[in-house]
């Protein structure tokens, strides 16, 4: 096909543009480590906030999990170049936090956990001012503010004083001021705090879009693991200033699959559940009671090693002449990391004592 008119041209050019941007994305974004820390420690006279933390964060959405006081805020403060580390080093976007704080803060955005908005100005005025504080010229600041507020979902209300906003709207303004200067990375500190379930879902969707649509990497802290499971590519768990675990969300939730099985009882087998358990045991498969789950006592948990496990369960149930009520995959939750670590800690304490 030869291009004959302007429309043909646009047809042939569009895929080309798409291709180049995709390549550019691959080379400029995916190959760098956005955050790298090396035995980073922060000690206060009486508390150790961070203890030899070494972690690499790649582009994408990364969740930073930890209980209150685990060192999340301290880490963000150091990464913004606002607080010197006691020892170790850290780089953000390839810039050393100890010497290049200003350059880092020009390229990253920060959304604090607490309220930070003056009530007597409108969202537009406030975000324009913050854009200029990030170094954007006046005209660009206004243009970017209008764009950003629209992207976070604030429309007509942006001209009204912030004092009259709902919590959800305030969170959006806080997010907008962190994004207005088009950073390469944003730190979001507990962005879903104080939101109702609907607002929470919207905020999580927005966080996902910051990476997928805007191409900005995200480091988001939370103490609610379920949330991070839904939004993050990667999860870093810290506890007491120490790194507990750092791996992709897939690793967290899909290393092993557990099957939950529920069967009916028959006259021949008044207790169908135990009959299945015995039969599975005879075939070399250990089934556990689903204690702590709804319907405990009637549910068996089996670790699936592959396709054959499904077939085996089906055959066993069919041989016994029972009805299979359900057989479903139970995903592991990140929360189990904490249970494991608690168990380890107790063990360690036990050994120590």
């Amino acid at each position: 096909m030869t291009p004959t008119g302007p429309y043909d041209w646009s047809l042939t050019r569009i895929p080309l543009c798409g291709l180049t941007t995709a390549v550019a994305c691959l080379t400029t974004v995916d190959d760098v480590t956005v955050i790298a820390t090396e035995s980073l420690s922060k000690r206060y006279p009486r508390v150790t906030a961070l203890d030899r933390l070494s972690v690499d964060v790649e582009p994408g959405v990364t969740g930073l999990v930890g209980a209150n006081g685990a060192g999340k805020s301290t880490l963000i403060k150091i990464l913004l170049g606002l607080s010197p580390a006691t020892e170790g080093r850290a780089e953000v976007l390839g810039l050393d936090v100890a010497t290049k704080g200003g350059a880092i803060r020009e390229r990253v955005g920060y959304m604090p956990e607490h309220d930070c908005l003056p009530p007597d100005v409108s969202a537009t005025e406030f975000v324009v001012h913050m854009a200029r504080m990030s170094g954007l010229p006046p005209a660009a600041a206004r243009e970017r503010t209008a764009d950003t507020l629209r992207h976070v979902g604030l429309y007509e209300e942006r001209y009204r004083p912030i004092g009259g906003y709902s919590t959800g709207m305030k969170q959006r303004v806080k997010l907008a001021q962190a994004l207005v200067h088009d950073p390469q990375l944003v730190f979001l500190d507990e962005p879903t705090n104080g939101l109702d379930p609907v607002g929470r879902d919207e905020m999580l969707g927005l966080i996902r879009r910051i990476h997928t649509d805007f191409g900005i990497s995200v480091l988001v802290t939370s103490h609610l693991l379920g949330e991070l499971e839904r939004t993050c590519d990667h999860v870093v768990v810290i506890d007491g200033g120490k790194l507990l675990r750092s791996s992709s969300t897939l690793d967290f939730t899909q290393t092993t699959t557990t099957l939950a099985i529920e069967v009916t009882d028959t006259d021949e087998h008044p207790d169908g559940t135990s009959a299945v358990r015995d039969a599975l045991h005879a075939r070399g498969l250990t089934a556990q009671d689903g204690s702590g789950l709804p319907g405990a006592g009637r549910i068996l948990l089996v670790t699936a090693e592959g396709e054959q496990t499904y077939d085996l369960v089906r055959d066993v149930v069919a041989d016994l002449g029972l009805g299979l009520v359900r057989m479903e995959q139970r995903r592991h939750h990140i929360a189990e990391v904490f249970k494991e670590s608690d168990a380890q800690r107790k063990e360690a304490v036990g050994h120590g004592g």
């Binding site: 020009e106 604090p112 309220d115």
Partner: protein, 302 residues
Amino acid sequence: MAVEQPTAREAEQTRIHNIGYRSYDGPRLGRAYARRSLYSQSLRGAYGLGRSVKSKVLPMLLFVVMCVPALIMVAVAVATKAKDLPVEYTRYAIIMQAVIGLYVASQAPQSVSRDLRFKTVPLYFSRPIETADYVRAKYAALASAMFILTAAPLIVLYVGALLSKLDFAHQTKGFAEGLVSVALLSLLFSGISLVIAAATPRRGFGIAAVIAVLTISYGAVSTIQAIAHVHAADSTALVWMGLFSPVTLIDGVQTAFLGASSSFPGGHGPSSAQGVVFLLVVLGLIAGSHGLLMRRYRKAGL
């Protein structure tokens, strides 16, 4: 063509509905620009510009109140064909100190307490500017606003004096001395007020505290000076008392160096030697205010 048209329409539609994210590739002007922006925003804010109509009322009203007496004096001087203005340039701010005090008390908390109270400060410090930039921008903005407030009536007086053809050299010298004096006064008053305001995040307390410090210190000092004037033969103690309030400090400096006649009781102003001490105390207070503000904001980080 029949095949092309629908695609063309589609392209048109995608263009209309395309509100996707646009990245920013323009200039980032950095720290100095951010500091200038903060300065101009704070300076405008000190006169209620860029804020609600309600917050424009007080600063604008005080500005008018500052200038009206100067206009009346000029009118009287022109009408009576007087040989000199009824009031010295350096004396004007001392007479109008209540208005100046009210202005700085209302605007210093506005400038800094809001950011502290609503915890906006971390948003500034997560950007390229640093503590020193924030403190200097805020300090310079309030001092400039004060200078505008105190220098404007002097300009009215000077222009009026020239229009009524008073002695040019004499008037210019007086005007220049007056400007130096109000510049010092602006720096001193705004420094003290900002320190007080930054220590009291609640705006109402800040206003009250600034007024209290400015007026109580002046009231106490001038009362003791008056008593000293009546009872003590020697005026030395009376002069040194002037070190303990911002208004009498400025009065002392301008009496010693800027050709002003003192408003101390009996007109006993400090001598040149004593004046050096007054000047050093003024400069020390300005530097000290700056230092205290830096300390305050280093802690206010994130």
